[in-house]
Symmetry: C2
Subunit: 174 residues, 2 copies
Amino acid sequence: MERELLLLGVLRYGEMHGYQLHDFIESSMAFCTDLKKPTAYFLLDKMQESGWVTVKQAREGNRPHKRVYKLTAKGEAVFQDLLRANLADFTTAKTGSDIGLAFIDAMPSEEARQLLQQRRKVVAEQVAKFEQVPAHAGSQQLLIDHQLHYLRSELAWLNLVIRRVKAKARAQQA
Amino acid sequence: MERELLLLGVLRYGEMHGYQLHDFIESSMAFCTDLKKPTAYFLLDKMQESGWVTVKQAREGNRPHKRVYKLTAKGEAVFQDLLRANLADFTTAKTGSDIGLAFIDAMPSEEARQLLQQRRKVVAEQVAKFEQVPAHAGSQQLLIDHQLHYLRSELAWLNLVIRRVKAKARAQQA
DNA sequence: CATTGAATAGTCAATACTGACTAATCAGTA
DNA sequence: TACTGATTAGTCAGTATTGACTATTCAATG
């Protein structure tokens, strides 16, 4: 239900059409979710069927159809419920970057070390990127802070792994 | 390609049938991926078409069909490539638990504080669970260590957020 | 004013993923 | 031996998700 929570939450800022919604999410929340356009429309349609949002066709100038979505009272209630459920719970994030580590013994430690150093560079670049992000308003800042916290923690862990792999590489060469 | 890497990597331990594969992943790697049975069979079929694995029908006793998958030379080559690509790269994990934080201003800070304290309990329990996990062999241990590192980092961050929310709750009541 | 490229808005066919199911065997037990 | 529940093995129909596309409008430029 996270994506629903997200869409409802964004719609609380005011009525919007699908493209705007998707755009806002792409730009403002890219690092905590990735909601593709067709998925957004799919979910919005379902929400409309459930009565969480209303849709009206709008025309500006002589532009073609444009579906404007608006939160209903029921939608707001669902939002409040989902929000509470989300805040009280915790689901561990899954990386995909871990899978490689599981099989790190399948290659020479020295090569693994080099690859992990490349990975470290990637993480360090992301950290740098987020350090440059200008201050955001309110809870947006929370997400940025979290991302930074997370990335730094990953960097620290990577350093640890690299040290371990280095030790192993030395042992192998001896 | 992470799931492919995973399946190929597990098959390197020796030929297996689909159920065994899925079982191994469920039990040994549950916290870094979740690969459902039908997905495993789906991917294995595709891999067979690509020539990464061979399949042979086997019968033990008079059990019905049982498809035994075995890595081919090509499969091993692909595995090595995927492994290198995976180790050199980094993809940030996405939680879903962040979405709630993005809208935390939509409820009274005092209530948010209580909910986040529930969340903290959930995280703390997971930390405790992983601290109990007995030592594993080789790179399996790496995954467990990573998970612990990650969970502790999340716990620390949550504490920080809770402090902030507390401060806000005090400010609101004053 | 025709043309190019960007932005806006949405669609669709295809892929990926999963919940819920079948079906056989085995192990215990009453 | 008939029944119950667990284990093994796999299937299938339905849902979720996405890459790649269409089609319009706008803005700028030669």
